[in-house]
């Protein structure tokens, strides 16, 4: 394992690199460019960077307009403001006309830490997933983030990507290539399958290592695209392992858990257990403390697996 890296840092660097070869890329921010890391692009290409001030709704509408002019706008702010504050602008001006806007939202989840509930998006995936035409992605580490940013530029249409404030362990190999709509088995196993995204993929791997000592062989799927979801991979996991556990740094309502549960229920019903935030708001605290408090640690995932397996 190489040293942990913040996915937002990778986003900033990748965007600036892409700006070199693709002159259609334009970037918008809402007075958070230092935190979202779009400042790297802004320094390099000031004429293609638009700081909209503290005006998220205006930013999304402006991004839509830029897209109609053939540009590829990246619009960034914190996840709660991108998905929440400007929700209807995203729905009406971007997703409904299927415009080519890339919303890359940083500071997703409770690992935002000390700022507290007002700044912790635990609902953003649900809010974005429910909008028709929207593609929703949560990369699990820096390697995947880089690949995601390259791939969404090749795809024409609206995309929401959630990256994080904190540093995540790097788990994917340097040559990993992300494909929209495809999950990846990062650890094979036959006794149960954990389907996770974001930071929870590495926590799931730790959980699997604990469970291995108890003689359990756990499959782990990195489901970075929540929409469109990889139905085949989910069904295969249900058929081959007979029990599915989902782990995400998001409310258990409306996120990856429900997306997966929906597929399992329709295609191949097996026991399902969701690990996530139990319909509560976040709060201030250190990221690590909050992960413990909200039950998102490897031991919590392991416990969920033990419980779920009993229902097989």
């Amino acid at each position: 394992m190489t040293k942990p890296i913040a996915t937002r840092d990778v986003y900033g660097e990748t965007l600036a690199a892409l700006g070199e070869s693709n002159k259609d890329i334009v970037v918008l921010d809402a007075d958070l460019s230092g935190s979202t890391k779009t400042s790297v692009f802004a320094k390099k290409f000031p004429e293609r960077f638009f700081n909209m001030g503290v005006s998220e709704a205006d930013m999304m509408g402006t991004a839509a307009g830029l897209a109609t002019g053939g540009k590829i706008p990246f619009a960034s702010t914190f996840a709660i403001f991108a998905s929440g504050r400007a929700w209807e602008q995203v729905r009406q001006s971007i997703a409904y006309p299927k415009l080519n806007v890339k919303i890359v939202a940083t500071h997703g989840g409770i690992t935002v830490g000390e700022d507290g509930a007002s700044h912790q998006a635990v609902e953003d995936i649900a809010l974005m997933r429910v909008i028709p035409n929207m593609t929703v992605i949560v990369p699990c580490d820096g390697v995947e983030t880089k690949s995601v940013i390259y791939e969404i530029v090749k795809y024409h249409g609206p995309v929401y990507v959630r990256v994080a404030r904190g540093k995540f362990p790097v788990i994917l190999p340097e040559d990993y290539k992300f494909t929209i709509g495809k999950g990846v088995v990062v650890r094979d196993g036959k006794d149960a399958a954990i389907i996770a995204n974001g930071l929870m993929v590495s926590h799931a791997l730790e959980a699997a290592a604990m469970l291995e000592k108890e003689g359990l062989d756990i499959r782990i799927i990195n489901m970075s695209t929540i929409k469109p979801i990889d139905r085949n991979l989910i069904v295969k996991a249900a058929q081959e392992t007979g029990v599915i556990i989902i782990a995400e740094e998001h409310s258990i309502i409306g996120g990856l858990g429900e997306a997966v549960a929906g597929v399992v229920a329709e295609e191949f019903p097996v026991p399902v257990k969701r690990v996530g935030i139990q319909d509560r708001f976040g709060q201030s605290g250190l990221a690590e403390e909050l992960l413990v408090h909200y039950g998102l640690m490897p031991k919590d995932i392991a416990e969920a697996v033990r419980k779920a397996i009993k229902k097989k």
């Binding site: 700081n51 709660i80 000390e114």
Partner: protein, 292 residues
């Protein structure tokens, strides 16, 4: 003669308010240093305004935070929570010891104001641009109940870039909310830089006037001017009042003054030491003892 009397009566009040403002600045610096995160610049720029509200103007009762006839204060620029927490602690809404827990897991002092956790906090803010609408609603409710309480809302100059602020500006004038007084902490900076560079808001006073507000322009660090503006606002009938208070981001400590880079950065140990030296106070006995 009359002016002499008011001079004699007001002077000591001003001197004591200045002391409180300094105390609150010390509290902010100490609190943020302990928390190792939080917003220094915008808390310090608002110190004099918040002091004048809590220690001079507002009718409130720390022993009875939900007193129905209290005046209300809404910190719309919620990231400046430390300055409000300092005021609340020094008014004894809760023990100053709580200041040691800022931003910690389980604290009553969340990173951004939360009415569910903190006595004296009226609403939940932190997402910019929403406070003035809530202030309007409170002012309407008070008017319906024929209460004489007033509502105060403090906004940032970056914050007024939010569209909702202007929707609320329209509503407040439309409903003739003369029990409402809003204040802009006009420190000239937001996160990414100077407000004029990031997203120009000028001409600000003309904007509020055009929206139907009575507008007062003051120096937001001149205690006398703040007090007078708050008093004058009370006499304006038929429309809301906006006090545009010229301030300095990070006011009171030269390392932070006018530097947007300290928007969301707490003082390091070294910076805290220098700050206290400059303010001429010691941290001994903090937070129990008043540092001055």
């Amino acid at each position: 003669m009359e002016s002499l009397i008011s001079e004699l009566m007001v002077r000591p009040a001003i001197e004591s308010l200045k002391k409180w403002a300094k105390q609150l600045r010390v509290d902010v610096l100490m609190m943020l240093n302990k928390a190792k995160s939080g917003h220094t610049g915008g808390s310090l720029s608002a110190a004099d305004i918040v002091t004048a509200l809590y220690f001079y103007k507002m009718r409130h009762d720390p022993k009875n935070p939900k007193w129905e006839d209290r005046d209300r204060f809404i910190l719309s620029k919620g990231h400046a929570a430390p300055i409000q927490y300092a005021a609340l602690a020094r008014c004894r809404y809760f023990s100053p010891r709580e200041l040691l827990t800022l931003r910690r897991l389980g604290s009553i002092l969340q990173g951004h104001p939360d009415m569910k956790c903190t006595p004296g906090i009226e609403v939940c803010t932190g997402s910019l641009g929403q406070g003035l609408s809530m202030a309007n609603g409170m002012a309407l409710a008070l008017r319906l109940d024929r209460r004489s309480s007033r509502v105060y809302a403090l906004l940032g100059d970056g914050e007024v870039e939010e569209g909702q602020v202007w929707e609320a500006a329209m509503s407040a004038a439309h409903y003739k909310l003369d029990n409402l007084c809003a204040i802009v902490d006009f420190n000239g900076f937001q996160i990414d830089g100077a407000v004029t560079d990031v997203m120009n808001i000028e001409p600000l006073s003309e904007k509020w006037k055009a929206f139907g507000w009575h507008v007062l322009m003051i120096d937001g660090h001149d205690m006398e001017q703040i007090m007078k503006a708050l008093d004058d606002a009370e006499n304006i009938k038929g429309r809301p009042t906006m006090i545009i208070a010229r301030t300095v981001k990070g006011k009171g400590v030269s390392i932070f003054e006018g530097k947007y880079q300290y928007h969301g950065i707490p003082p390091s140990d070294e910076e805290l030491k220098k700050s206290l030296e400059e303010l001429g106070v010691s941290a001994d006995g903090w937070p129990e003892r008043v540092a001055l």
